[in-house]
């Protein structure tokens, strides 16, 4: 403990605690924590201002490996604890690390409401589409038909799409990246941090033990360019190893479709430009699935509104200015009182 914040610039490693990291060798979480360390060093956030909250699950061990303040709480409830802490001290820089079972199953309610309220929290959702810590049961993001100890014949319930859910709940910032995409991750995390309000970043994470390769179809180096698209505000929605594929309006005009420039009369002019303030576009991007579409990565939506904690404190200030508090005795004596005199 006793790690003094060094006066000189903090290096990525300064954000790591002295505790031995205990994720399985090869777990995607290693890459994510590296990306987070790098991002924090780029932002130079003082260690004492930084707080990492987590729930329960493999990802939830994250705070123990950070040199900042940290609170490993209970399953699904990290956003609720973080909301209380942010309201109590708005100066804190709060990050919440959640897994897919944590954030979307047992804690779905808290995730939804932290987003809806727009609490100024950086919500990192590590989605590996499986329960790791409890040994491999299917999760609410597992693909239909997932065989697991609790679904030996395959799961029969449809998975949910985290970012669609978030946008439905009124999110003002949603982004997606994946564990080994270290080129993209710091930029996405920095954008999330810059956004005042709830920022949800879904980080696709490979669980090497219970769901290895679940995302290979679009994260593997060989296919990632063709099967995913990294969106950037103001830039055309182009993807593909040859940068010749893109997203265009669907033929009926109500949706989008993946097209190839130069085929079927498609030209570059047909390709949509990414507008991170366009919610309808964000919803379509968030919902894109393989194989029909590339998986959308980057900042899909970023359209700030007043943060909850700011609104709460503004109201507190206003009420207090309008009704300046007196002493405790004044509080107790406000309203109807009567006095009984000596000898009455």
């Amino acid at each position: 403990m006793n790690i003094e914040t060094p006066v000189e610039a903090l290096k990525p490693n300064d954000y790591a605690s002295d505790q031995e990291v205990r994720w399985c060798p090869g777990c995607g979480d290693y890459a994510i924590i590296k990306g987070v360390h790098r991002t924090l060093a780029e932002l130079q956030i003082p260690l004492e201002k930084l707080v990492f909250f987590s729930g329960i699950g493999c990802a939830a061990r994250f705070p123990y490996y950070m040199a900042s303040y940290g609170f490993h709480t209970i399953h699904g409830r990290a956003p609720a604890l973080a909301t209380g802490a942010k309201l109590a001290n708005p100066d804190l820089d709060i990050w919440v690390v959640m897994g897919d079972g944590d954030a979307l199953s047992i804690g779905g309610n808290h995730t939804m409401h932290a987003i809806r309220r727009n609490v100024d929290l950086n919500l990192l959702l590590f989605n590996n589409e499986i329960y790791g810590l409890t040994k491999g049961q299917y999760s609410p993001t597992s693909q239909l038909g997932t065989r697991s100890p609790s679904t030996p014949q395959g799961s029969v319930d449809a998975p949910l799409t985290a970012l669609s859910l978030a946008l439905g709940a009124g999110a003002r910032f949603v982004a997606r990246t994946f564990d080994t995409n270290q080129k993209q991750m710091p930029g996405v995390l920095k954008a999330a941090h810059a956004h005042k309000g709830a920022s949800l970043v879904e980080i696709i994470q490979n669980c090497i033990v219970y769901n290895d390769g679940a995302f290979d179809g679009w994260t593997n180096k060989k296919v990632v360019s063709d099967n995913s698209i990294s969106v950037e505000h103001g830039k055309p929605l182009i993807f593909g190893a040859d940068s010749n594929k893109g997203l265009a309006k669907s033929d009926d005009g109500f949706g989008i479709q993946a097209v190839t420039i130069g085929e079927n009369g498609v030209t570059e002019a047909d390709i949509l430009i990414h507008d991170e303030t366009n919610k309808i576009l964000a919803m379509m991007l968030a919902d894109m699935k393989q194989p029909e579409f590339p998986v959308a990565l980057g900042v899909l939506y970023n359209n700030p509104a007043k943060a909850f904690d700011e609104a709460v404190h503004e109201q507190l200030r206003e009420v207090t200015e309008a009704n300046p508090p007196g002493s405790l005795n004044d509080m107790l004596r406000k309203g109807r009182t009567w006095t009984v005199e000596e000898g009455a």
Partner: protein, 621 residues
């Protein structure tokens, strides 16, 4: 009541020592408001008083039904009283259903005031009567004052520019005016309230005031039946000081704010609406300028979790609920306990299990408070005795939470929360401050460093340079605060958590005897809101020379250090509770004493007479 002794003549009014009035009507008839206004006026007249609001769970149950009846009882006197009274001397019944439900409690010779306009054939049938109770002789043993209250109210407000529906809604104020005349209550406080409440609707304000005055004038001019007179209840002789009427909800809110101030912290309430605890959320949100943040969370779990998060960040976290909500918070309470963060949990108990009787009072969450968590999870539990006592109990809950770095459960109940009593306003400066000192020194710091005396861990909050550390639900090493799965360490940590709470027994007042001698034949042991009824019952028996004592336990866990010895000085112990026997079993488990249980699980407070019977049957002859 037996104590209704007429004494002196007073301005043509007959003086009474005490009166019990019950206002009863449909949920939509405004009986709670009528009772509250009568209470305010009575408090300002200097009487001692106690009230008992009793309303249905439905917001607007179908009109005219017995299950939709809402009642408000007030006991006021020229002497010190402790309960809302057993049976009403006067019943005001605004409709047949109210009469049907409450007449059985009015003793022979008692007065019944009826709104005859509500006794239509339909309403009479709705209430379950087969014959009109005004005509079938069922009221022969009572003094009946039958008045066409709707009609008289409508006439009174004719000039007030209100619709006929709005006019009829003023009938509760008409009845209030009548009662104000009968018992010589000042109408001005009510008039002030109406003007404030309906400031933006002057016609409604005028109509209510007109109805109030008309009821008063009616009583003054009309000839009342023989046996009914104008009364006066002289002021109670009370300790000099400044007083106000308080409910347990208000006193608890002020106590929590005061406690936080004494700790030098701001208060953060995370709460979720639930009957009957919501009123605390409403009250505290209006105290924002006193350093209070309130947060209505998405559910009970988020409510407690946000409070823990706030404590973690350096405020005093508070959460409030009722039994079912507390059940949902249980896992999070365990987290606060193992991370040793201060947290106050207010449980306004109600009838259970499950949804149970949400608007009725009960004391059945004692086991839940003391033992109702997974694993070895001891925490302090305090319970308040009266509405006013909620103030001190709340301060004590805060003191224990911050001094011992622990969640504390504060047990109130539906009766305490809603009932009102005159309260001598304490001088807040008399409360000894207990300022929190956050850890700032990095030298030798780890999060589980303990104070040698209290065993509380040191409290370092995020934002403090050099003290970065990680908390969490996984067991921590005694000497470093890091994760530890070591079996001996877990044994040691469990023991130290228990020793910390046990040690509180030496930091609380010794258990005193509320009434009676320090030893004797019978100890009547109570806790919580049964205080008034037990104290009065024991007091009467002591007056008659019986060897009975009342022991009231505020510190429900841990018990005061001398409690065991004190109990051993009595031949017999009875424990009256509004549950199926909980404290009695805690006492038996803790002290191996042969305590006997008296239970009442009707959703109603104990009657003094019931308890007196129980006591006498054990010590007489």
């Amino acid at each position: 009541m037996a104590t209704n002794v007429a004494s002196t003549e007073n301005g043509g009014r007959k003086a009474l020592d005490s009166v019990v009035i019950r206002f009863a009507g449909d949920s939509g008839d405004g009986m709670q408001l009528t009772g509250t206004q009568f209470t305010q006026s009575t408090a300002l007249m200097g009487n001692d008083l106690a009230t008992f609001p009793d309303f249905p769970a439905e917001i607007r149950a179908p009109a005219g039904t017995t299950f939709g009846v809402s009642a408000f009882q007030i006991n006021f006197a020229s002497f010190d009283i402790q309960t809302p009274g057993d049976d009403p001397d006067v019943l005001v019944a605004m409709n047949p259903a109210a009469l049907k439900v409450h007449l059985k409690d009015v003793p022979k010779g008692g007065t019944v005031i009826l709104n005859t306009d509500a006794f239509s054939e339909r309403n009479i049938a709705r209430a379950g009567y087969t014959e009109n109770p005004l005509e079938d002789g069922s009221l022969d043993n009572h003094i009946v004052i039958a008045i066409e209250i709707n009609k008289l109210t409508n006439a009174a407000v004719a000039d007030c520019d209100v619709t006929s529906k709005e006019a009829t809604r003023c009938k509760n104020f008409w009845a209030l005016g009548l009662m104000c005349w009968m018992y010589n209550r000042d109408r001005q406080p009510t008039i002030d309230w109406v003007n404030q409440r309906f400031g933006k609707l002057p016609n409604i304000a005028a109509a209510n005031i007109a109805a109030l005055n008309a009821g008063h004038a009616y009583a003054e001019t009309v000839e009342l039946p023989s046996g009914v007179e104008a009364y006066i209840v002289p002021r109670a002789k009370v300790v000099p000081g400044t007083y106000r009427a308080v409910t347990g909800t208000e006193a608890a809110a002020w106590g929590l704010v005061a406690g936080a101030k004494k700790a030098g912290l701001e208060l953060f309430l995370g709460s979720y609406p639930i009957t009957p605890a919501s009123a605390l959320l409403h009250t505290l949100t209006n105290l924002k300028p006193y350093g209070v943040t309130t947060f209505q969370a998405e559910d009970e779990i988020a409510a407690v979790c946000s409070a823990i998060g706030a404590s973690y960040a350096g405020k005093l976290g508070l959460t409030s609920s009722s039994g079912p909500g507390i059940a949902l918070k249980t896992e999070a309470i365990g987290l606060a306990l193992v991370t040793e963060l201060p947290l106050v949990i207010v449980n306004v108990q109600r009838g259970g299990p499950s949804t149970g009787l949400p608007t009725k009072t009960e004391q059945s969450d004692l086991f839940q408070a003391v033992w109702g968590r997974n694993a070895d999870t001891p925490l302090p539990v305090v319970a308040s005795a009266t509405p006013g006592d909620c103030f001190e109990t709340a301060i004590e809950a805060v003191r224990l939470a911050v001094k011992y770095m622990t969640p504390v459960i504060f047990l109130s109940d539906g009766y305490l929360a809603n009932a009102a009593e005159p309260w001598e306003i304490p001088d807040a400066d008399d409360v000894e401050p207990f300022p929190v000192e956050f850890r700032t020194d990095p030298e030798g710091f780890h999060p589980y460093l303990r104070d040698e005396k209290t065993l509380a861990r040191n409290w370092a909050i995020p934002g403090t340079p050099g003290l970065m550390h990680r908390l969490g639900g996984i067991e921590k090493d005694y000497d470093s605060g890091h994760i530890s799965y070591d079996s001996d360490n877990h044994h040691r940590m469990t023991k130290v958590r228990a020793a910390k709470i046990d040690g509180i027994a030496n930091d609380i007042p010794a258990q005193a005897v509320a009434t009676g001698e320090e030893s004797g034949k019978l100890a009547v042991v109570g806790w919580g809101s049964t205080f008034g009824a037990i104290n009065q019952a024991v007091g009467r028996c002591v007056k008659d020379g019986l060897s009975v004592s009342h022991i009231h336990i505020r510190h429900v866990w841990p018990f005061p250090a001398n409690l065991e010895e004190l109990l051993s000085k009595f031949d017999r112990i009875i424990v009256p509770e509004m549950n199926n026997g909980q404290m009695v079993n805690v006492l038996r488990a803790k002290f191996l004493v042969d305590a006997e249980s008296i239970t009442q699980i009707t959703g109603q407070p104990f009657k003094v007479s019931t308890l007196e019977r129980e006591i006498r049957s054990r010590v007489e002859g």
